[in-house]
């Protein structure tokens, strides 16, 4: 299972990855594999401010529906329209083309409190 070293993670498998002054948010490779084929993604509107730990959307696979949780607090600056039209991008390239939203953080230090790649790897039983 791939773990992007530049990203940090929630135990609920969302990642945040620094990009310029913003964060790219998506779900981990482990999460997409566990979910199976992703068939629907619901994402917030650009401009919405959401706190760390709050839900920012829904992801549904063939098997089940799951809430998506914010790894850092911030304002949505961009939403991946491509993934709304082709949710399978999450399975194909979760750290790349399958990203979900980009946020301008209200407290960038929150990033440091997330699990780094090594800690996340341990949390999902991989090294």
């Amino acid at each position: 299972m791939a773990i992007d070293k530049n990203a940090r993670y929630l135990e609920s498998h969302e990642y945040a990855k620094p990009e310029g002054g913003n964060f790219v948010i998506g779900i981990s490779d482990h999460a997409q594999a566990e979910l199976g084929d992703v068939v629907f993604v619901e994402l917030p509107a650009v401009g919405k401010t959401i706190a760390k730990g709050a839900t920012f959307g829904t992801i549904e696979s063939v098997k089940a529906a799951s809430d998506l949780y914010m790894p850092v607090s911030g304002t949505v600056v961009e939403v991946n329209e491509a993934v709304k039209n082709d949710p399978a991008l999450v399975n194909k390239d979760c750290f790349g083309a399958g990203w979900l939203i980009k946020v301008a953080p209200s407290n960038p230090a929150e990033f440091d409190s997330l699990l780094d790649a090594s800690a996340y790897g341990k949390a999902i039983g991989e090294e």
Partner: protein, 348 residues
């Protein structure tokens, strides 16, 4: 893997459910469906007995014909749905895994002394080979051309020395067949079909339960426990066509009373916009009235729609009727659509 009716079944293979669905629609899917049960009914009174037990007309069935039917209780509830093969000396009845024991007991309890009901499930293996190139593949591995066997007929074939009862039937909406053969040969036949597909460049993949469900759903076929059950009658589920009212069968009186009185709900297809409908979700009218519930729902990979089958009040059953499906607390726009979403190959 997941437990299903006492079997460990793959929900998906590594290919993934969506791709498995699409492979079956474009080439060949292999389905390991040994969990399905097979009952064999024979004896002097077998013809009359089978006719009285099942809803479909069977008096006109001669070898090598087969037909879909329902098995009802006296109230008209659906105990199971069946595929009935008329063999030269007996009736071969394919039943659902989860109902196998119940069906067997039901047949046995009603059987007169001159009828034998035998559960042949344990010594019979069942593999379905489905898809637009399925017949081409089996033609190449069998000792005879199965393409000469008509839809809903069967034939005795042999695959690499293994005797196989081949039914040109299936549960996907594609052409193809279902293979019945001695259980000890399961791995041999399975691996041979995969290897032949590879060798002949006929794309052939194993298909799990998730894609089996989405394939049957798109093609408008029922799954017992969802569109039909002992709590659902065939009239409200749209299966009057599978019942022969010219003959006597268990449940007929109840169905006639239901037809006379009118149904209180109807099975419809619903397309949903903005979420994935699933079993149990409520259906509401545009003004918020509770009008029914979904019994199955999913993303449909071939028609690329989010759709459900739902039982709704008859007033809301017309194609084009606007409704909502409540997905995780939120009413989502929906509309009643024509079933099936995907027209089976043999009806085109």
């Amino acid at each position: 893997m997941a437990p299903f009716a006492g079997y460990d079944m793959p929900i998906t293979y590594p290919t993934g459910a969506i791709e498995e669905h699409l492979v079956t629609r474009r080439s060949v899917g292999l389905f390991d469906i040994d969990h399905m049960g097979q009952l064999e009914i024979s004896g002097a009174g077998a013809d009359a007995f089978v006719s009285r037990m099942v809803t479909a007309k069977v008096s006109d069935l001669v070898p090598p014909m087969a037909r879909y039917s329902l098995l009802l209780d006296e109230k008209g509830g659906v105990i199971d749905d069946l595929f009935i093969y008329r063999l030269p000396q007996s009736w071969w009845i394919v039943v659902n895994a989860s109902n196998r024991a119940k069906d067997f007991e039901w047949f046995k309890a009603h059987a007169p002394e001159d009828v034998a009901v035998v559960d042949r499930s344990d010594d019979t293996y069942m593999i379905a080979v489905q898809g637009p190139r399925a017949i081409e593949l089996i033609d190449k591995v069998a000792n005879m051309a199965v393409s000469s066997i008509q839809r809903f007929n069967w034939g005795n074939i042999s695959i690499d020395g293994v005797p196989v009862l081949f039914g040109r039937t299936g549960y996907t909406g594609e052409d193809g067949g279902e293979l019945f053969f001695p259980a000890a040969e399961a791995q041999h036949v399975w691996e041979l079909l995969l290897a032949k597909g590879e060798a002949l460049s006929i794309e052939t993949r194993p298909i799990g339960l998730a894609a089996r469900d989405s394939l049957r759903f798109e093609a408008g076929m029922p799954l017992h426990g969802h569109e039909i059950s002992t709590e659902i009658n065939p009239i409200e589920a749209g299966f009057k066509w599978a019942c022969d009212f010219e003959k006597e069968f268990i449940g007929k009186e109840a169905l006639l009373a239901i037809i006379d009185k009118g149904v209180s709900r109807k099975l419809v297809g619903i397309e949903v916009f903005g979420g994935v409908p699933r079993e149990g979700y409520e259906v509401t009218s545009p003004d918020g009235k509770d009008i029914g519930h979904c019994v199955a729902g999913m993303f449909c990979p071939t028609v690329k729609k989010y759709a459900a089958n739902a039982f709704v009040l008859p007033d809301y059953a017309k194609v084009g009727t606007e409704a909502s499906v409540v997905i995780r607390g939120q009413p989502r726009k929906a509309v009643v659509v024509k079933r099936p979403l995907y027209l089976p190959a043999y009806r085109r």
